[in-house]
Amino acid sequence: MQQKELTDTNREKVIEIKGLNKSFGDMKVLSSANLDLIKGENLVVLGKSGSGKSVLIKIIIGLLKPDIGMVNVLGKTVDQITYKELLKLRLRVGFSFQSSALYDSMTVKQNLEFPLIRNQRSLTKLETEKRIDEMLDAVGLLKTLNQMPSELSGGQRKRIGIARTLILQPEIMLYDEPSAGLDPITCIEINKLINDVQERFHTSAIIITHDLTCAKEVGNRIAMLVDGHFERQGTFEKVFNSGDEQAQAFYNYNFIQ
C-alpha cells in the first residue's frame, strides 16, 4: 500500500479546477468544486452514484462544458481552446470509460490501432504492431489480439479499454469506475494494473470509484465529492478518521456491513 501524500516540494499541478459549477436544466450537479491533481499522484474521487463524478471528468476532457469556473489541464483552459487544440490536449490525457466503450465492430487489435495510426502517422506498420503488442502485454491480454470485444469478459474489456487509452502515452489518466461491476478478484487485478500504470508510465491519475478497497489500494490521496463539491481531501486515513458523517457512512458500508 502506498498512502504517501506527496510532499510540498514537488507540487506541480497538472489539473487545476476552481469554482466549477455545472447544472443540467434545474438540476445542480457540481457547485463551486475545487480540485487539484498533482503531478505523479493517483487521486481517488469518491462519491455516491449520481453525485457528478463522471460529469467532473467529462468536463476535464472537454466532453461537457462547465457553466462557471476554471478548468485548467496541463496549462490549458479546456473550455476556451479551439477544437484543434482540444484534440491535441486529449492526446496527453487518457480517459477510461465506465462502460469500456470498445468499438464493437473492430477486433481488439483494430481497437488499439484506431487512435494510434490516426495520431502518429509516421509510425511504420511494424512499429504500430510492436506498440500494440507492448500495450496488450502491459495489461496482460496479449492472447486476445484477434478477438472481438463481444467475446471478452467484463474485466478483460476494462483492461483493453485501458490499453487503448495508454497506447497514446498520456501524461494524465482518468479512470471512470474502473472496478465497477467486477468480481472482487478481478477488482484486485485492475487495482494492481492502475498502480502498474502509474509506476511504468509515470502518469498522474484521477480514479473515480465508490469502492473503498480500490481507493485504499490505488490512491495517494482521496477527495470526497459531496453535494457538488469536495468536502474532504487527504490520505485515506485522514479522510476516514475525520469523523465526517458522509465519510463514515461510506466506510461502514464498505467494511463493516
Binding site: G62, L63, K65, L87, L91, A101
Partner: protein, 266 residues
Amino acid sequence: MKTSDHSPKSAIKQPGKIAVWFLTIYDIYRFIIRFFKEALLPPYEFKEVMRQCYEIGYRSVLLISTTGFITGLVFTKQSRPSLSEFGATSWLPSLVGIALLRTLAPLLTGLIAAGKVGSSIGAELGSMNVTEQIDAMEVSATNPFKYLVVTRVLAATITMPILAFYTVMIGMLGSLLNVSINEGTSASAFFQSSLESITFLDITASTTKAILFGFTIGMVGCYQGYNSSKGTEGVGKAANASVVIAMFLIFVEEVVCVQFFSFFIT
C-alpha cells in the same frame, strides 16, 4: 465536437416549441456545414469510404435487383394496352427507357436505400452514441465526425448514382423479357430503340437526383444517429426517423428536380 451538451434541448432553459424548431434547423445547418468543411480538409479516410461504399452496395443490391426487374416488367405490361390502341407498341422500349431513367430508377433506388441503408446508418451511429463509442473516439483525439459521418455520407452519395444506373439496366432487362415474349423483339433492337430516345439531359437530371438522394440518405441517417438520445429507445428512434425523414425529403427533392430540369427541356 459532439454537440450533446449544446443540443437544442439544453441550449435555452425552457424553450418554446417554435424556438426548439428553429434551434433544430440551426443544428442541422451546422451539421451540414461541418460535413463540407471536414470532407475537404485532410486527413482523408479513403479506406473507410471504400468500405462503406461496398457495405451500401452489398446491402441493397439484391433488393434493388428484384424490385428493378419487376418494375421494368410490370411497367411494360401495363403500358402495352394504351400504346396498342394506337398501334404503337414499338414505342415500348423507348417509353420504358425514358421512364426508368428519368424517374423510376432514381426514385425506386432512393426509397429502397432510404429503408435499407438509412436505417442501418441511423441504428449503427445511434448505438455507437449510446454505448459511448463516439465519445471514446472523441477523447482519443480522433475526430469521430470525420471517421463516421463524412465517410458514410460520401459513400452514400457516390454509390447512389451507380445503383440508380444499375436499376435502369435491370429494369430494362425486365422490360425486354416482356417485350421479347409478346412482340418477339430482339435484345439488340430493344436496346437500340430505347437508347436512341435518351438524351444527355436525361442522364444529367437522373444523375443529379441520385446524387442528391444519396447525400440526403447519408446525411439524415448520420444526423439522427449522431444526435440520438441516450438509452436503448434512442437507437430505435434514430433508425426510424432516418427512414421516414429521408423518404419524405426524397419525394420533395424529386418534385423540385423535375420542376428545375423541365426549364431546360423547352
